[in-house]
Amino acid sequence: MLLDILNNLLGGMGNLFQLWNFGLLALGSLIGITAGALPGIAFVNAMALALPFAYFMSPVTAMLFLTGIYVGGIFGGSISSILLNIPGSPGSLPATWDGYPLTKSGKSAKALGIAITCSAIGGMVSAMLMIFFSPPFANFALTFDQPEFFAATFLGLVTVIAIAKGQMLPALASLFGGLVFGSVGFDFFYGAPRLTFNWEVLDGGIHFVVAMIGMFAIGEVLYTLTQNLKTNHRNLKGHTQLPRVKELWDLKTTIARASGIGCMIGVIPGAGGIVGAVISYGVEKQVSKRGDKFGTGVEEGLAAPETAKNATTGAATIPMLTLGIPGSAATAIMMAALMLKGVNPGPILFVQGKELVYTVFAGYLVANVLIVVFGLLIARGFSYIMRVPPAILYAIIIVLSVIGAFAVRNNIFDIYIALAFGILSYFMKRFNFPTTPLVLGLILGPLMERFYLTSLASYGSPAEFLVRPKTAIIMSIAGLFLVWSLWPSVIETIRRIRLKEK
């Protein structure tokens, strides 16, 4: 198996270094880092906007392009975090806590250097995990029938909620909103139209890509329009100084810990870069000797979240590729690109589409190296990038999202759906409702319904979900997550009751 993987990976590398493939990976990386660095455009938005371009690339090239944006973009946000104290992408929020103080004390070059190298290392570790873990897991998943897939999808939905913790109810509302949207249209068994209000155009359902383009591109444009965003970019010093080997060696335990945390968080659906980064920062703060000085510009405080957020990338791709169940907005977009080209991710892909899978693996490795190259470049040119007039940028974004929404099914009605979701997401954002659960509900809901109904048709009773060994295990993990996430509120209630008794 191991030799097989290495062999295939070598083939993937060969594929990757063809002109078009490598060129688009590099272009994606550049776009990703730039978009990540610009406040107001997160990498997810950039990925959603890249979709229309992906339509006319081969599946492999499209995946590499998106990989570049994903891996680059999740790093890029740190540039503006460190230099401007504005997180360019949500995952880079913790980089403002110890990165910006370093800038204030005149050590911005060092901070940028640490961010770049740590991001690259975290990403590499995660890519390795993906490369060596996915194929055996896909092999295992080949034995999955519909009940197992149902259980895996259910686990995905439960973790989306479990992650939300303090924001349980809004996240649930958002999730069920997505699930309801996902059940619009023909059911696949009988072809009965549901929730369409006799409106023919809704028969085909709401395509998740259309909704995502609306939420992540149009919603963002509206949000920025009303914000009157003002950034000052005086005395931006984008010089970088890569840390010396000894400096890195001093951070080795931090990096190892953060990589581990990032990989673990990455696999969990619904978590993503921000959660990995924040948890890693928290752990580091408790473990580190200089923990009490965190927030004043400590290297560990910057290295930990930077490593962790990039360490989520490869790990997050595992469930998408092996099961066809995406756990985050970014991987959902990658899955969309595959599906729109007629490639269905899932265990079979590791048999039929080896070439694609391993080229993507190689792409993840190389994209993390490209971070170092382009990170230095873009950090240097950052003050120029900030001068791009936002009005033009956002006008083009609207046009691109309309093209993207249209091209999914070449359907004009999808344009209206995307615009409606854009407006919806604006208001969700304004009232602090998380949008990710809605998107995941919209993607996972129809999958779950299909798996559930086919299981019933095949095995006859829902008891099957608890009897089959693999299904039972996955379901009990989901149950544990549910209990874990509800625990705080249970404790809270008990405490309150005791308070009352006193």
């Binding site: 696949f188 070449n410 048709a457």
Partner: protein
Amino acid sequence: MSFLQKFRKVVFTVVSFSLIVTVMDALAEFPDRPVDLICNYGPGGGADQFSRALSPILSKQLGVKVQVSNVTGAAGNNGIHRTATSKPDGYTIGTITGLSVSSWLKGHGKLRAKDMTFLAIGQVTDSMLFVPTNSPYKTFKDLLAAAKANPDKIKVAISGRGGADDVTMTYMAGKGYKFRTVPYEKPAERYAAPIGGHVDVMYEEPGDVRQFVKNKQIRPIVVFSNQANRYHPKVPIVTDFGLDVYFQNFRGIITGKDVPKAEKEVLNKALNKAFTSDAFNVFCNKTSTCTNARTVEDSRQFVEKYFKGLEKYSKN
């Protein structure tokens, strides 16, 4: 000049330009710009392979580019609707398949056979039942006997309720062979089901699963036809077992019903030439779907016969 005046002037220019364009369009010989070929299913599926194989060949026949775009959703009816209702100038043609025609029985889509022109039929194929190579059912006779002995126990993977596959299995249940039908919507999952041992039998067309047959993962056990299949002559035919049920799946090309006759003729000729060309024969032989040339009228009758047959069986 006020804004309104400016606007009027712009509108006037646009309108007069487009009048000239319309006149020019009428004078030029059809076709003189790219033709849109609307595929009514998503990328990767049978209809998509059909349109991608056809596009370069048809392009050579017509002398203009033929651009494929997928308009998907609603069991293929979205694509049909787009093709049949776009400007009737012959520049929009689209695919239609047996599956989308059978969805009309369920009340899907607004348009029926009378609302469109059938230009030609490109692929016609029998359906078959496949079992895993190591299946305990060696012959169709074994399978029928097992189904009679254990009703509702033997699982058959089909594509959904109400399609030709479901109608066929319902007919067989009426004859005393009750199978349990399990709809798998995604083709990849449907193919994996017998291979992974999750179902006993699969209803499919041979062209779509040829690689699995070639790898000896599954094998055909019966063909739903009243005559031997030209690609699999050894597989027994269903009518020999006293079962009178056979639907052929087909893929054809349609256009709007108001397209001028001359354009229809040009397209029909080009399509028939394309379908009988050597290049297309490579494709249809590979997928076991070759068929003969048909006129516009013949194509319409072919589709109507298919629909009426389905209607008759699903009522019983």
